[in-house]
């Protein structure tokens, strides 16, 4: 049983709210900026534990110094589309935060066990950020990485298990285990299917688009027409040599990185441009990155090919804003 004064803990916790909010904002911004820079399409959730949950946790787990022992007062969760994106997010966590503890929930389960999955980190802001927060003394908080499916399970299981008054019956437990197994299978199958699609012969366009999309999201979150992209890439890929297709990820990453400021400015200049004109149609398609790259590499071959699949005005617009003169323009 908790031996401290619950009212004191409540007041102390409420006094900390401003500090927690600042830490949460700084952490969220760092995470969001880095995630955008790496072109990962994901969702970030943030929350400060409400006082009610905090007090209940004290009572449940009998902490002696709850403010320091409980580490999920501040929580951030990165929700990715695919499991293979975890590696990139992990890199960000280590680059942007001090990591005190980490746990891959899968590793804590035996082969015959099923349960809650995802990566959990206990982190704090980096030392040089301390001065941004008055009286800050290295507050440790929780950062989780989940896939969409794992997140769904985390939310549903919370509703199912924490809100039940008595332990679930064996029958309910079994149905819950079936669901957990399904979540794990779902993520694995999605990953396998995605890899298979990317590597499938006859679908190099999908592979190109996957890499383009990743770089495209460095600059904009605009929605684009996937089918249109695939059609365009089926023509544009003719301009690439076999080794360029094999090494496409590096090629497009290097181009995006060398031209980062120029691309960021262009996408920002045009993102809210409401002029009624169709010539900007291609800019907010991920393949615009490849078009800019080819304009620099060989504008002649690009122009020669272009007429076979799209109106020339679309290329002329991109060439003009990129600062390239096309023949006979």
């Amino acid at each position: 049983m908790y031996e401290g004064n619950l009212e004191d803990s409540r007041k102390l916790y409420l006094d900390k709210q401003d500090e927690y909010s600042k830490i949460l904002e700084i952490a969220f911004e760092k995470l969001e900026t880095s995630i955008k820079r790496k072109g990962i399409h994901c969702q970030i959730e943030k929350r400060i534990k409400n006082v009610d949950s905090f007090l209940k946790k004290i009572l449940r787990k009998e902490y002696k110094t709850p403010l320091t022992e409980i580490r999920d007062q501040i929580g951030l969760r990165v929700i990715t589309h695919y499991q293979h994106e975890f590696d990139k997010v992990k890199e960000i966590v280590y680059e942007e935060f001090e990591v005190h503890h980490h746990e891959d929930k899968l590793n804590s389960l035996k082969f015959d066990q099923l349960g809650y999955l995802g990566l959990h980190y206990e982190v704090s802001l980096q030392k040089n950020e301390n001065e941004l927060i008055k009286d800050y003394n290295e507050h440790i908080f929780e950062l989780q990485i989940h896939t969409k499916a794992q997140n769904l399970w985390a939310n549903v299981s919370h509703q199912l298990l924490y809100k039940s008054f008595s332990p679930p019956s064996p029958e309910i437990q079994r149905s819950i285990y079936r669901l957990v197994a399904l979540i794990e299978i779902f993520d694995k199958e999605v990953n396998t299917a995605q890899n298979a699609i990317i590597n499938q012969t006859g679908f190099p366009e999908v592979k190109l688009l996957t890499h383009l999309e990743s770089c495209f999201h460095l600059f904009t979150w605009n929605e684009f027409d996937k089918e249109f992209s695939i059609n365009n890439l089926s023509s544009l890929k003719k301009l690439l040599k076999d080794e360029e297709i094999d090494n496409f990820e590096n090629l497009i990453e290097a181009f995006s990185s060398e031209n980062h400021t120029k691309l960021a400015n262009l996408f920002s200049q045009y993102s809210d441009d409401k002029r009624d004109s169709y010539d900007r149609l291609m800019l907010f398609q991920p393949e615009s990155l490849l078009i800019f790259e080819r304009l620099e590499m060989d504008k002649f071959k690009l122009q020669e090919l272009w007429g076979s699949f799209l109106p020339l005005e679309l290329l002329e617009f991109l060439a003009n804003i990129w600062g390239i003169q096309l023949p006979n323009s």
């Binding site: 400021t261 120029k262 400015n265 262009l266 200049q269 045009y270 809210d272 441009d273 409401k274 002029r275 590499m297 060989d298 504008k299 002649f300 071959k301 020669e304 060439a319 003009n320 804003i321 990129w322 600062g323 390239i324 003169q325 096309l326 023949p327 006979n328 323009s329």
Partner: protein, 346 residues
């Protein structure tokens, strides 16, 4: 100087109407604009697109004349020193200078002065549009008596009526101000005076590299490209003839991109443009001046191994149509042509 015009972003713009100046007595008083156009994204992008369009086609590096007739160099320098507060005032002084420098020969038009960023550096772009079709202008006056001019008029002029469009752009570098101009009339022999008016009298600048030097550099790079980078004898012949034709034809402007596109094999076009860039020869259109181009380069020389034999054919491209250079089965080259014999030797 090579500037990446793709990085250009317009931040502020003001439009001044420049009426036709009939004579000193009958001059329409210039009413300069007091208010910038609203800095909405669409307007700024529209202007950026038009400026880029002009500069990517043709741009000449310029520098301020050390003893300029024009106050513009000094006004631009002051604008880069000040904290933007003088933008409107300085633009009015530039407009006034243009108006007072013009004579009845010049059409009326508009002057658009824009504060821009180029390669992330502060820059100023001046656009001069002449209106040959007599578009109607509207001057808007607010309740404080301040005058503004809408971008709509400039859009109409650029997209329909305005045929003459000149741009000068000046970038603040760490230790100097770099400049470029684009002017469709530059290079057209009958328009030299008008082009020089814009460059010298109005902007107070001079071309950093004379057209004669640029033309020579272009020819030299082109010749080196043919000799060193092209292996096919047939293509060497085709490019050589194209170069001779370019030198000797009546066009006043050299258009490197179109030259490559029209005359070269698709695999050689970009390589040729890259070679020009490496040699710091303009890849955009520029004025042709062959006045200092030596006769030797205006004629064709085919030099065989060890200089054992040189065949020189002088004349214009049309007389070279009968010239055939072909590779024989044993790897040697056969040169043949048909012409009326005048004499042997020089």
């Amino acid at each position: 100087m090579s500037l990446d015009f793709g990085t250009l972003q317009v931040e502020r713009a003001i439009i001044h109407q420049i009426p036709k100046r009939l004579s000193s007595e009958g001059a329409v008083a210039l009413r300069t604009t007091d208010i910038e156009i609203p800095p909405v994204l669409e307007s700024m992008n529209f202007l950026a697109e038009r400026i880029k369009e002009s500069l990517v086609k043709s741009s000449y590096s310029v520098a301020f004349d050390p003893e300029p007739e024009s106050p513009v160099p000094d006004l631009i320098s002051r604008l880069f020193e000040s904290e933007n507060d003088d933008f409107v005032h300085i633009s009015q002084r530039i407009a006034l200078h243009l108006y007072t420098s013009q004579t009845g020969v010049n059409s009326r038009g508009v002057l658009v002065i824009t504060q821009v960023k180029l390669e992330n550096k502060p820059a100023l772009a001046i656009l001069k549009l002449e209106d040959e079709k007599g578009c109607e202008y509207e001057i808007l006056e607010n309740n404080k008596g301040l005058i503004t001019c809408s971008l709509k008029q400039v859009e109409n002029l650029m997209l329909t009526g305005g045929k003459i469009f000149k741009v000068g752009i000046f970038v603040k570098e760490s230790d100097c101000i770099a400049g470029c101009i684009s002017d469709k009339q530059r290079g057209i022999k009958t328009q030299t005076l008008v082009a020089n008016f814009f460059l010298k009298r109005f902007l107070g600048c001079y071309l950093l590299k004379s057209p004669a030097i640029t033309t020579n550099q272009f020819i030299r790079t082109c010749q080196n490209f043919i000799n060193n980078d092209v292996s096919s004898v047939e293509l060497k012949q085709r490019y050589e003839i194209a170069l001779l034709s370019l030198i000797n034809n009546n066009n006043d402007v050299i258009e490197p991109t179109n030259f490559a596109s029209l005359n070269m094999h698709v695999d050689d076009r970009q390589k040729f443009i890259d070679r020009l860039e490496q040699d710091e020869v303009p890849t955009t259109n520029f004025e042709k001046d062959i006045s200092t181009t030596g006769n030797s380069i205006r004629n064709m020389h085919v030099t065989f191994t060890n200089n054992e034999c040189t065949v020189a054919i002088s004349g214009n491209a049309s007389s070279l149509e009968d010239l055939i250079i072909e590779e024989t089965d044993d790897g040697r080259v056969k040169v043949s042509f048909v012409a009326e014999l005048d004499k042997f030797g020089k």
